[in-house]
Amino acid sequence: MPHFAKPAEGSWTEQYPELGTGPVSYEDSISPEHYELERKAIFSRTWLNVGRVEQLPRAGSYFTKEIAAAGTSIIVVKGTDGEVRAFHNICRHRGNKLVWNDFPGEETSGTCRQFTCKYHGWRYGTDGELTFVQQESEFFNLDKGDYGLASVKLQTWQGFIFVNLNPENTTSLDEYLGEFGAELAGYPFDKMTEVYKYRANVGSNWKLFIDAFAEFYHAPILHAKQATADESRKLSEVGFEALAYKINGPHSMVSSWGGMSPPKDLDMVKPIERILRSGLFGPWDHPDIEGLDNLPPALNPAQHKAWGIDSFVFFPNFMLLVWEPGWYLTYHYWPTSYNTHIFEGTLYFVPAKNAEERLRQELAAVTFKEYALQDGNTLEATQTMLESRAVTLFPLNDQEILLRHLHTTAREHVADYEKSAATPVKISAAS
C-alpha cells in the first residue's frame, strides 16, 4: 500500500512509455568507446554549469575550469565593463595554457587587470582582446585584432554561469533549461552566499554517481547507521516513496518528504543534532530572508505539507537540490575517463549571523560528507563489478525512474550525434 499517491497510469515510470519498464544495461557506463562518443555528443555540445556569479565579485575577477570531457580548459572572467565572458584557456601565440599556477592541470582563481602568458609574455585584456605582443616588430604583418582569445558561449540563469562549447549552438540557455528553469526563477539563490565546497575523485562513470543521488531508495539501507537504531529500523521497514517525479526534456526531478527538520521526536536524532538544531537536512530554523514563504512553482510540485527537498537533474552533469529549511546544494560530475570523474558538492547558506548559526551550518556540511563518503565508495564497487560483465541486465523500480531517464537521454544524445556525424559522409560517398 503506497503512502503517497501515484499518477493515474499506475506508476511514475509508465507516465513516460518511451522509458519502458524492462531491465536495463549499463554498457553505456563501462565502455571506453561509448565514453568517447559522449565527450563529443554531450560535453562538447550542451550547456554546462561552471559556477556562480558570486565567484566573480569585481571587474577582473576570474576562475578557470578544467573540462576534461570536452578536452579543454576555460577562463571565466568579469570584464571592466561588468560583463562575464568565457574563453578557451589557450594563448594565441604558441598554444600555451594561459592561466594556471604551479600545476597546469589544477584550477585557479583570482583578480587581475590582464592575463599574461608565462611563455612569451603576450597579454590579453579581460575582454579577451590581445593587448601586447613581446617584440611585436619581429612578427610578419601581425594584426593584434586577429588574435584575441577564442571565446566560448556563456549565459547565466538565476546567477548560475553556464557555457556551451559548441560554437554552432543556437539553443538559448533559458530554452535549454525548459520548464524547470522557468519555474525555479525567483528562488533567493542570490541570498545564499555562504559556501562550503567539497571535491572528490571518484572511481566510477559519471552517470553512476548521478544515479546514486537521483534515487532515495538506497537511503534507508546504505545510510542505516546514520540514524538512531529505532529510527533506522522504521525507515527500512517503510522504505522510500517520493512525493513526485517529473521529467522535462533532458532534465528531471524528484520531490521528497523530509521529516528531520525538525524531527517529530527529538529522540529520533543524535545528541549533537538536538543541541545544534541541525543535521543532514540543514539547520532546522529558516533563515531570516524574503522569498522562502512564497516558493516558485517548480518546488514542492505535489504541494505536500511534509515536503523536505527537491532534487533537479539538469542534463548532463548538474544537480540542484533545494531544501525546505532554506538552503541549497549543487552537485557536479566532471568525467575524466569512462570510469573516473571528479565530483563536486557545494552547500550554499544564508551567511551566519552568529557562532550558533555557523555551527549549525558546520554540522550540515560535516554530515553531508559522512553520507557522500558512503555513496562514493559504493560506486567504485559498482563500477568494478559492472565491468566484469558477469551480469548485463538489471531491473529498475519505479522509485528509480530518473536513472532510466538519465541513461536513455545520454544514449539518445549519442545516437543523434552519430546520425548527424554520419550524414555528410554518406552524401560525399554518394557524390
Partner: protein
Amino acid sequence: MPTLPTEFGELELFADWSLETEAERYAKRLSSTMDELQSFYDTAFPRLEEAIEYLNKFDLNALPPDATRLLWLLYSLVNASFPVEVWRQPRVPDSGAASMDMLIEPAV
C-alpha cells in the same frame, strides 16, 4: 599560557583540537584513537551550549583570538561527534578508499 577563554579552562587539555580548517580537523579525527575521541567529546560536549552562548555575544566577523579558537574547537567537536555518537570508529564505515576534500569554507 591559556589559548581559550578562561571560562572554558578545562578544554585547554584539548586545545590541539582548535584547528582552522576542515581538512585539519578531519585528519586529526582519523589519526585519533576512539579513547582520545571519546575523552575530547565527553569534556567538550557538556560545555557546548554554554560555549555557544558565550560566542553569540560577539560579532562573528570580529571574534577575539581566544573565542575564535574556541569556535574552531567546537567545529572539531561537530566532526568528532560522528565517531563517538554513531560509528564507534574514527572512519565512516564502508567508506574504504573514498576521500573528499573541502576546497572552500567560510573564513570564520
